[in-house]
């Protein structure tokens, strides 16, 4: 009955962190990863990735705007969430969310995008008409100074913002890992490696997402895919993936070797309730296969068409793997009893506030936002050198 096996404390039957809390670290992970890819161009001077730079920034923004929604929706009292800003509890990792989020959104992403697009915004505010003109005029903040000197200043400040943005992206996602890793009550979560593993898997998922988006959108625009760009991105994806995999294995080996009081229970869970999502999806399909695919590209000389197909397959598998990892952490951590004597079952709703449909909607929503952002702020440089009067933005 109730999907309970063995003995669990009577209050443990219900899982209070649902699929939306799975989605939340997944989405923030995409943000952090996309931003790190952008910083490769800006701070580490990886010129090859430049074609995807602006797309990476807009992707990060689109997902960041959605990131608080799953949290908000899972709260028992969403209307009270401003309390997080008004009376943040200093000892709570979760209380830092509001501030880290706002900092990252406003001081890093929006500021950097604004600096990068300022010249375009000013030009667009002069070439467009109607509500668009008004919108762009607001975005200029009333300053149409695009003198070479001001753009040089923007560039320098933008570099500093990106530099600050890298640790900020790490903090944004690292603290999500800390929320789980710092709970001593839950041995499945409790690990100092948790924030690190979260950051690296975030980079993997975010870079793969931008790679997929870049290839998809470029194909849709019927433009040639910039092969050095995708090759370089895939190379970074491969190396960071190796690091991520090593860290996850380190965590696993440590747990198996240490075999503390919770080991028997967790081991049994991984071999039963979590077998499909942990062993099959996360480890095999979502990690080993894409690493192998990306590795083959690194050591062989395959034609461009094959490489592109491999990137698409690997990119999709990475998303499956990282989502499964978030699932296994969040849901897995609530399936076993803290008495280590039994298990419960997660029953996902379909149309409820925290159900499957809402989760799907929240996954698609950032793509819609990205589409709007790309309409407003075209990320493709070749289109902007000709600011025609009454120009319709790219495609």
């Amino acid at each position: 009955m109730n999907g309970v096996e063995g003995y669990i404390y009577p209050n443990e039957i219900t899982l209070y962190w649902s699929v939306l809390i799975v989605l939340y670290p997944y989405i923030t992970g995409l943000v952090a990863g996309a931003f790190i890819l952008a910083s490769l161009v800006r701070v580490f001077n990886v010129k090859a990735v430049a074609p995807a730079y602006r797309l990476a920034l807009l992707t990060a923004l689109a997902f960041l705007l959605v990131a608080p929604l799953p949290l908000q929706l899972h709260l028992g009292h969403p209307e009270r969430s401003p309390e997080m800003y008004f009376t943040p509890h200093a000892t709570s990792a979760m209380a830092m969310f509001g501030f880290v989020y706002l900092w990252y959104l406003m001081a890093v992403l929006v500021f950097e995008i604004w600096l990068d697009y300022r010249r375009d915004i000013v030009l667009l505010s002069q070439s467009t008409t109607g509500w668009k003109r008004l919108l762009y005029r607001i975005m200029t903040l009333g300053s149409d100074n695009i003198s070479p000197r001001s753009l040089v200043i923007d560039h320098k400040v933008g570099w500093i913002v990106t530099l600050v943005g890298i640790p900020s992206a790490f903090i944004l996602h690292g603290y999500v890992g800390f929320i789980f890793g710092s709970l001593k009550a839950n041995p499945w979560w409790n690990s100092p490696l948790m924030p690190v593993v979260f950051i690296f898997s975030a980079m993997v998922s975010g870079i793969a997402a931008v790679l997929l988006l870049y290839m998809g959108i470029t194909k849709w625009r019927k433009m040639p895919i910039d092969m050095p760009c995708v090759d370089t991105t895939a190379m970074y994806l491969f190396y960071i993936f190796i690091l991520d995999f090593s860290l996850e294995m380190l965590d696993l080996i440590h747990r198996v070797y240490e075999a503390d009081e919770s080991f028997r229970t967790l081991n049994f869970m991984v071999h039963t309730k979590l077998y499909f999502s942990q062993i099959v999806l996360q480890m095999c399909i979502g990690t080993l296969v894409p690493i192998l695919l990306l590795g083959i590209v690194q050591v062989t000389k395959l034609p461009a068409l094959i490489r592109k197909r491999i990137y698409v397959v690997a990119g999709c598998l990475v998303q499956v793997g990282v989502f499964a990892m978030r699932w296994n952490v969040v849901i897995g951590g609530q399936l076993f009893s803290k008495s280590f004597l039994g298990y419960t079952t997660y029953k996902m709703g379909l149309v409820s506030r925290e159900g499957l449909l809402m989760a799907i909607f929240l996954t698609i929503l950032p793509l819609g936002i990205l589409w709007v952002l790309m309409k407003l702020l075209p990320p493709w440089p070749e289109k902007q050198h000709v600011p025609l009067p009454a120009a319709t933005p790219a495609h």
């Binding site: 003995y7 009577p10 962190w17 009292h77 309390e83 009376t87 008495s339 004597l341």
Partner: protein, 244 residues
Amino acid sequence: MNLDRRHFLVMLPAAAIAWKYVLAGTPEASPNYTMTDHWWSMLIDIPKCIGCGNCVRACAAENDVPEGHFRTWVERYLVTDWHMESPEVISPDGGKEGFPAAAEEANGKYFFVPKLCNHCTNSPCTQVCPVGATFITPDGVVLVDQTYCLGCAYCVQACPYGCRYIHPEKKVADKCTLCYHRITKGLTTACCENCPTGARQLVDLKDPSDPIHAFLKTHYVQVLKPQMATGAKVFYNELDGSVR
């Protein structure tokens, strides 16, 4: 009998006044109660527990505990021989209606373990609350401000003992208050009041005349999951090592 009746009639107004006094006001309003004079906790005397479920029912009636959730519950352990790592534990409906009769186990022992919030001094649940909606009072009781709680359930995840839940209607964290509305009026908790064998006793560690001090001097007690270092204040007399 006549005398008793007269006695009853004489006593009635006095009782009503006493009762009004009991019902009166907040701890701040009550001159007899100073928060800093108390440090509340509980003693559970395992050999005395008969698993009747009176405490669970009393708690539910006193605190309007929602069906299927528990501020206190009773577990029945069966440990066979030396197999301390795999006890057989049951708690049907939290022990609310007692336990099924058990047959003699030749090679094992049975015992009951009442559970409740440990009102930890270094409570992991209050530590993680993002807004300060749960806290430990100056008299040592971990409470939830249900008008301020977001219902994020982080505290539920952080409690090692499974003592918290999200109230299905109020959508906020809910838990044992150690009957704060009773103990601040000089009463004991509903569970202690209704325990027929005295297996549960409210204790005030700051009160030098509390029998707990004599008890601790002569008994070997334990708290649950001491490795969690939560500063748990619910002391268990003769707690078996298999209990988790």
